[in-house]
Amino acid sequence: MKTDIILAGVGGQGILSIAAALGTAALAENLHLKQAETHGMSQRGGAVVSHMRICDREIASDLIPIGTADLILSVEPMESLRYLPFLSEKGYLVTNTTPFVNIPNYPEIESVMAEIEKLPRFVAIDADKIAKEVGNARASNMVMLGAASPFIDIGFHKIEAGIREIFERKGEKIVEMNLKALQTGREFAEKNK
C-alpha cells in the first residue's frame, strides 16, 4: 500500500495533531513513514503544509512529487486549494469548510467553495460545527481525520487506537470525545464522497 497525504492549514491550527494520530496508527501497522513538517516563521499564522507518506515499502523522498498525492487533507478551505498541483489524477480533496480569516484580502468564501466543488473527487465538511456538536470545537481536527479516513489505507481501528494513545494522558473523557469526532467525520465522508 501507499498513501501520500498533503496536510494543509494555517500555523496554529494544529495540523500536526492529525499527523501524530496517523503516524501512530501507521507505526502500529508496521508501515514505513516519512513526514515533512513546516516549523519556524510560518507557524505564526502563515500557510503551513506537511507532506505525510505512508507505505509498506521503504520511502525515498521526504517530499511528495507533484501530481501524485492520494489525498489533500486541509483544515481550511482556501489552503486546500493552494496545494492542488500535488493531487494525483485519482486523488481526493478533503477539506474543512470553515474559513480561517487572518488576512485582509481573504477571497469570498462562496468563490472558494465553488473552486472546490469543481473537483471530481472531494469531501467538504463543516468540521468546526460537527466538533462543537460532539462536545468541543478543538476536536475539529479529529473530525477532519475521520472524514479523510475512508481514503487512507490503514485500518480504522488502528486510527482509533492512535487517537487513544495521543490523548490518553488528557483523560478518558477527552479520548471519547475525539473518537466520537473521528467517527462522525467518517460517517459524513461515507455519505458525501
Partner: protein, 536 residues
C-alpha cells in the same frame, strides 16, 4: 537497538547523546533548535548531567564547545547556517588548533529560506576550513553520523561538520538507535601549545592541517557514506549529495537507476570515485542541496572533457531547495503536472500573534514616527521583524543579529534624525550589547527600543539569556539611567507609551525604551504547564 520515530534534528540529538557527548552548546535558530531541546529533555542526558543550557550566541556556544574539547570531552555545537557566520572566527581557527575530545558542529542550512534571510551553504565553510564534512541523506544516517562523528573528529584531530538542510531537519522517519557510548574522561591536550595560535605555532599547525588533507580524501574514498553504485548506461553519471539521493531514488521507485550513481555524504571529495565516474561516463549530473559546490569543483577539474550538468548550466534551478520534481525534469522524465491552483488564492504570510506586546509597541511608535515620515527604524531578527509587514510597516531593516543598533548608529552618524533601533531581548543579548557600547561612547543620537517578551519566541520560546538583566546591562554599558525607561505594552498604557517615545526621541544622545510583557505563546504554555512549543 531501539526503534524511534524521529525528526532529523531529534535523530542528531539522540546520536550525540549515544556518541558520548558531555555537553551541547547552541543558540536557537530554525531549523537547528530542536537538537538542543531534544537533549535538554532526554532522560539519559539529564541523568548524565550533560551540559545543555542555551548560550548567548553561536560564537560563545562554539568557543565553549572548543573548551570542552580541550578538556578531552566529546561535545556538539549546533546552529543554523547564519549562526555559523557569528561563530566563524572561532570555527575557522578551530581547524588550526584542532581538537582534543571529539567536536562535532551541526549546522542546519535553510535553502529556499523558509525561516532565514539567506540560503548560504555551510559546506563552503567546511571546504574553506579544510575539515571533514558529513552530509546525511536520511534520518538514520543523521543519527549514525552524529554518533560516529566524534570518533572521526578524534581520529583526525579536527572538528567535524555535520551539515543538514531544513527538509531533513524537520522530517520524521524511523530511526534505529545503537549502543550508548561512555563519556570521555577529562584529559589535557598532549601538546600544551596546541591551542596557542601565536603566529609561529599557528604556521606549524596550519602546515599540519595541510598535510592531513590527503588522508582526509582517503577517508572519504573509503567511507561507507560514499557509495559508488554501478550502472549499465554510461551516457550519464549522477552525483547525489546528501538528501538529493532520495529525490533520485524517488524517480526510480519501481526500477533500478540505469546510470552509475555516486551517493556522496562525506567530504572532502572522494577523488577516486570522481575519477572513475569521469572516465566511464559521457556526462555528469550533480544533484546538490544548496550552492553548486561540487559542480564548481568538477567544472574546474574536468574543464575540457566531461560535460558537467547541475545548477550552473540551468539543468536544475540555481536557487532554492531541490525536490523530486526538479530531479525528474533534470532526468528528462515526463511527469503529470497536477491541477493548477485557482488564481484567487492569496498569500498568507505569518503575522504577530493576537495580544502580542510587540503590536502595542509598534502601534505607539507609529503614532509618534508618523510625524517624521517613513524610513527611520532599523530592526533585527525575531518575531518583531513581522513589524515590516502590514498593518504596522514600522521597520525598515532586518539584516543580521544585532544590526539594528549599529545601523541606526551609522545612519545617525550620517545625519538621519530620528534614528531608531528595534531589537528583541534575546537578540540584544546575542549581538546588541557591543553596538550599544559604540553608541554610548560616541553619545550618538539614537533611540533603542528593546522589545522584551522575556523569551526567544520565534524559535519556540526558549529562555532568553538577557532575562531580568536588560536595564543593568544598559546601565553597565553606560546608558544614562534616566533614559532607560520600562513600560508594559498594553492598550491601556498607549498614551503613556506615546509620550515616552516622544520624550526619548527628543533626548539628544542614547536612550533605551523597554516595552516589557511576556510572549503570549509562552504565557499560555506556562499556564497550561507545557515547557515549550510542541513544534517550531
Amino acid at each position: 537497538m531501539q526503534k524511534h520515530l524521529f525528526l532529523g534534528v531529534e535523530a542528531i540529538g539522540q546520536g550525540a547523546i549515544d556518541g558520548g557527548i558531555s555537553g551541547v552548546y547552541a543558540y536557537p535558530g530554525t531549523p537547528s533548535t530542536e537538537i538542543t531541546e531534544f537533549i535538554q529533555d532526554n532522560p539519559l542526558a539529564i541523568e548524565r548531567d550533560i551540559h545543555r543550557k542555551w548560550a548567548a550566541n553561536e560564537k560563545t556556544a562554539y568557543e565553549s564547545a572548543l573548551g570542552m574539547s580541550y578538556a578531552g570531552k566529546r561535545t556538539m555545537a549546533c546552529m543554523k547556517h547564519v549562526g555559523l557566520n557569528v561563530a566563524a572566527d572561532a570555527f575557522i581557527n578551530s581547524a588550526i588548533t584542532g581538537v582534543n575530545g571529539g567536536l562535532v558542529l551541526t549546522v542546519a542550512d535553510d535553502p529556499s529560506m523558509h525561516s532565514s534571510q539567506n540560503e548560504q551553504d555551510s559546506r563552503f565553510y567546511g571546504d574553506f576550513s579544510m575539515i571533514p564534512v558529513l552530509e546525511p541523506s536520511n534520518q538514520q544516517e543523521a543519527y549514525d553520523m552524529a554518533r560516529e562523528g566524534f570518533e572521526l573528529s578524534e581520529k583526525t584531530g579536527l572538528p567535524v561538520m555535520l551539515r543538514i538542510t531544513t527538509r531533513l531537519a524537520h522530517s520524521r522517519a524511523g530511526v534505529t538507535s545503537k549502543e550508548v557510548l561512555a563519556e570521555n574522561d577529562m584529559s589535557m591536550p598532549e601538546d600544551a601549545r596546541q591551542f596557542v595560535l601565536l603566529p609561529a605555532i599557528a604556521r606549524r599547525r596550519y602546515k599540519g592541517l595541510l598535510e592531513k588533507q590527503a588522508s582526509l580524501v582517503e577517508l572519504s574514498e573509503n567511507s561507507i557514506h560514499n557509495k559508488y553504485i554501478e550502472g549499465e548506461d554510461k551516457s550519464l553519471g549522477i552525483i547525489c549529495c546528501g538528501i538529493s539521493y532520495n529525490y533520485l531514488q524517488e524517480n526510480y521507485a519501481n526500477e533500478k537507476c540505469p546510470y552509475p550513481v555516486l551517493k556522496l555524504s562525506q567530504y572532502p571529495l572522494p577523488e577516486k570515485q570522481l575519477k572513475k565516474m569521469e572516465e566511464e561516463c559521457d556526462e555528469i549530473l550533480i544533484l546538490e542541496e544548496g550552492y553548486p559546490l561540487v559542480e564548481e569543483k568538477l567544472k574546474g577539474y574536468y574543464a575540457n572533457g566531461t560535460t558537467i550538468k547541475g545548477r550552473l548550466d540551468g539543468t536544475l534551478p540555481r536557487d532554492g531547495e531541490l525536490n523530486p520534481d526538479h530531479v525528474a525534469k533534470a532526468l528528462g522524465k515526463e511527469i503529470y503536472q497536477g491541477i493548477q491552483p485557482p488564481a484567487m488564492i492569496v498569500n498568507r504570510p505569518p503575522a504577530l500573534c493576537q495580544g502580542c506586546g510587540h503590536q502595542d509597541a509598534y502601534t505607539a511608535m507609529n503614532e509618534v514616527l508618523d510625524e517624521y515620515g517613513k524610513g527611520h527604524v532599523f530592526s533585527d531578527i525575531g518575531c518583531y521583524t513581522l513589524g515590516a509587514l502590514p498593518p504596522y510597516e514600522t521597520i525598515n531593516s532586518c539584516v543580521d543579529m544585532g544590526a539594528s543598533i549599529t545601523m541606526a548608529k551609522g545612519a545617525a552618524d550620517a545625519g538621519l534624525f530620528p534614528a531608531v533601533a528595534v531589537i528583541g531581548d534575546s537578540t540584544f543579548a546575542h549581538s546588541g550589547i557591543t553596538g550599544l557600547l559604540d553608541a554610548v561612547n560616541e553619545k550618538t543620537n539614537i533611540t533603542v527600543v528593546i522589545s522584551d517578551n522575556e523569551s526567544v519566541s520565534m524559535t519556540g520560546g526558549q529562555d532568553s539569556s538577557a532575562f531580568e538583566k536588560i536595564e543593568s546591562i544598559c546601565e553597565g554599558v553606560g546608558v544614562d539611567p534616566a533614559h532607560i525607561r520600562v513600560i508594559v505594552p498594553l492598550k491601556k498604557n498607549h498614551e503613556e507609551m506615546v509620550k515616552m517615545f516622544r520624550e526619548e526621541l527628543a533626548h539628544e544622545g542614547v536612550s533605551v525604551i523597554v516595552p516589557r510583557r511576556e510572549c503570549v505563546q509562552r504565557a499560555s504554555r506556562r499556564k497550561r504547564n507545557i515547557s515549550r512549543h510542541a513544534n517550531h
